[in-house]
Subunit: 403 residues, 2 copies
């Protein structure tokens, strides 16, 4: 077949780096499968947003999916809310929440001792809190939760109640403009009522009895307005799936209507069962046109500044990717959402390597998969927002502009 | 002389391709002149519009001439109308037309058996149809024609009457919004009156008598509003000419005030007398600063999916281009408007090779003219809209921004 019909987008989260003693982790790692795909594909470097713009994983993934983050991104809340299964409507304002422990007005544990099951507490909040507008509160994994306010006259221009550091008082939610006063009042009211519900809840009484910290307050942050945007299938006419371990990427996928395919053993860390995720991705291609496979471990090692751990994880990923080298009729893309350089211990704006392999590709002379070689490849320098249009054209799925 | 003064822009229409068994037609063809020019020039790849945007020949040529198609392109009609010599005014709405055969309300031949001379029929329509606004109807080659409506309150937001497929009824023209209702009514009135004029015209009576299909209806499509845009000489201060075989390219040239220089034997197909066009182009440089030379045959072979025909045509073009290799004081650009890959049989968004040769050029290491080598060249990756500004600067004809 001379035109590919399906797309597998492999995102090696944060794998891209800067050299230390002349070598990046990608340059040091043993990675025969990545190198072989680079040899058989077209390569290039890609700015996650634009040169010099340091991206979060959220906006970086929006751009990879072809959604302009400057247009669709207003905050992390809607992504987290979609991730926990809240069906958002246009105009909703959504937030990330933490179950936390407060004592004498001071946050003493932002995660309530990493409380693991908040099912009952979340139910009690949804049932016990009465606001002057509709709200949906849902638990996520661990101490995490998300909330959406629904109704007229809401705004995301509010401050967070989360002080971000322990030992500081819970902040009042403040309006950043007169249009947000109602929302700020609703949130302060929500927190006050939620604290009453939590204080006397049997689970917290039991926690205190057994010497554990109670989950007696809710910290709120990441306010974002829900925009009316096309789903992935509306935008591209493709049926898509997402395979990822972290709630953020799963949330982005769900927000745009990608099917989330769970993988046992996927942890989002270097101990993740990457082979299981790869197997799942290949299976998902049977009944999907597009699969986003996010592999997170390298990002974590970058944040931790651990060069050997990052290099070893790349080797592990490379082994797990072997079955992908045999895919036919599928465009295989291997790239990163952003760089997470060991020396920076955070995301950076450095461009990431990008490789596309499959039918009809103009194969270039690049022979290894790394940041330096990629810059000599046939794609030259593109932006993440360019990627989906390029792939859509390669699978012959674009409309002509003009005649 | 170390600064070029003139520009020859050679557009090998649709020549750019994707590899089949590792080779594109450009990689397979014997093309010593193109390769020699690539060796002496600077090379790169060029997105016709932007990465992943699949262009029509019309918008692709607008971009090559430095006109932003997103601003100036509203439809094909104005280009066709300019091509047949209608002097368009701002606010005109123009259309492509076909003489066609209709029977019992069904289009049985969209080209009226490729009727060859419609001079008399066109005259009869211009004289016989009376509308509540001014209109200009002009024949083109074969069954083709163009029309412009002129007056207040016109809009291009109307559907086509052309069903695009034979065996389907002629469509009523519908307004796509209330602002276009008058235009839709005028067009339906035009079609009704034109059919009356055509039905009893002696030419059609004679056609029927001799067993031929009558040209008894006019199909309308490609509505576009005429914008007020600078001519080529207003925009660049250069006197320009266009050499092309197809009405579309000639129309674009005329629309922007390029002198159209006709070439005998230019067919727009692989049998075209390319040498005659090249000779004409070189002559035109004597009294023009800029010449656009469009050579169409490769595009046709791409649409037909004929790899050998496309490869052979490239060889033929290469021979014909030999006199161009000797030009002095002239920037020679060889590029394509878009790719027309054999495997796609249609335009694609793949970037095209672009080569600039002449005085002052930063010659790179590229030694052959093809899609893969071009990507390693000194121009890196640009867009067609960048080309004219780059050329204008190379002939020292740009204004300084700042001091």
């Amino acid at each position: 077949m001379s035109i590919a019909r399906k797309i597998l987008l492999v995102v090696l989260d944060g794998v891209s780096d800067r050299p230390i003693n002349g070598k990046t982790p990608l340059l040091m790692a043993k990675k025969p499968n990545l190198d072989s795909m680079a040899s058989l594909g077209i390569n290039g470097i890609m700015d996650p947003i634009a040169p010099g713009i340091r991206p979060g994983s959220d906006v970086a993934h929006l751009a990879l999916l072809g959604y302009d983050p400057y247009k669709v991104y207003t905050g992390r809340g809607p992504i987290e809310a979609a991730g926990v299964g809240i069906h958002l409507k246009k105009g909703d304002v959504a937030f990330r929440c933490n179950f936390a422990t407060r004592k004498d007005g001071i946050v003493i544990d932002r995660r309530a001792e990493r409380i693991s099951d908040t099912t009952e507490l979340s139910k009690a909040i949804q049932e016990g809190v009465k606001l002057d507008t509709e709200f949906i509160f849902k638990r996520s994994t661990g101490h995490r939760a998300a909330m959406a306010l629904r109704g007229d006259g809401l705004s995301s221009h509010v401050t967070a109640s989360d002080p971000k550091h322990e030992g500081e008082p819970v902040r009042r939610v403040d309006a950043l403009g007169p249009e947000a006063e109602r929302t700020a009042n609703l949130l302060n009211e929500f927190i006050e009522q939620a604290e009453k519900v939590l204080e006397d809840h049997p689970i917290n009484i039991e926690r205190k009895r057994s010497g554990k910290l109670p989950a007696n307050t809710i910290l709120i942050r990441g306010a974002g307005t829900v925009q009316k945007t096309e789903t992935f299938s509306e935008k591209y006419g493709l049926k898509g799936a997402v395979i990822a371990a972290t709630g953020l990427i799963i949330g982005i996928g769900k927000m745009y209507g990608l099917d989330y395919i769970e993988t046992k053993g996927a942890t989002g860390s270097v101990d993740s069962d990457v082979s299981a995720k790869v197997k799942n991705a290949i299976n998902a291609l049977n009944d999907h046109d597009f699969v986003l496979l996010n592999i997170k471990g390298a990002d974590e090692s970058g944040h931790d500044g651990l060069i050997e751990k990052k290099t070893q994880f790349i080797g592990k990923v490379d082994k797990a990717l072997e079955p992908i080298t045999c895919l036919k009729d599928t465009l295989v893309v291997v790239t990163a959402d952003h760089s997470t350089p060991i020396a920076v211990r955070n995301h950076s704006a450095d461009p990431v390597p990008v490789m596309i392999k499959g039918p009809g590709i103009r194969v270039d002379d690049v022979r290894t998969y790394d940041e330096i070689s990629a810059a000599t490849g046939g794609l030259n320098r593109i932006r993440s927002m360019d990627l989906m249009p390029i792939l859509m054209d390669l699978i012959d799925h674009t409309k002509k502009f003009g005649e």
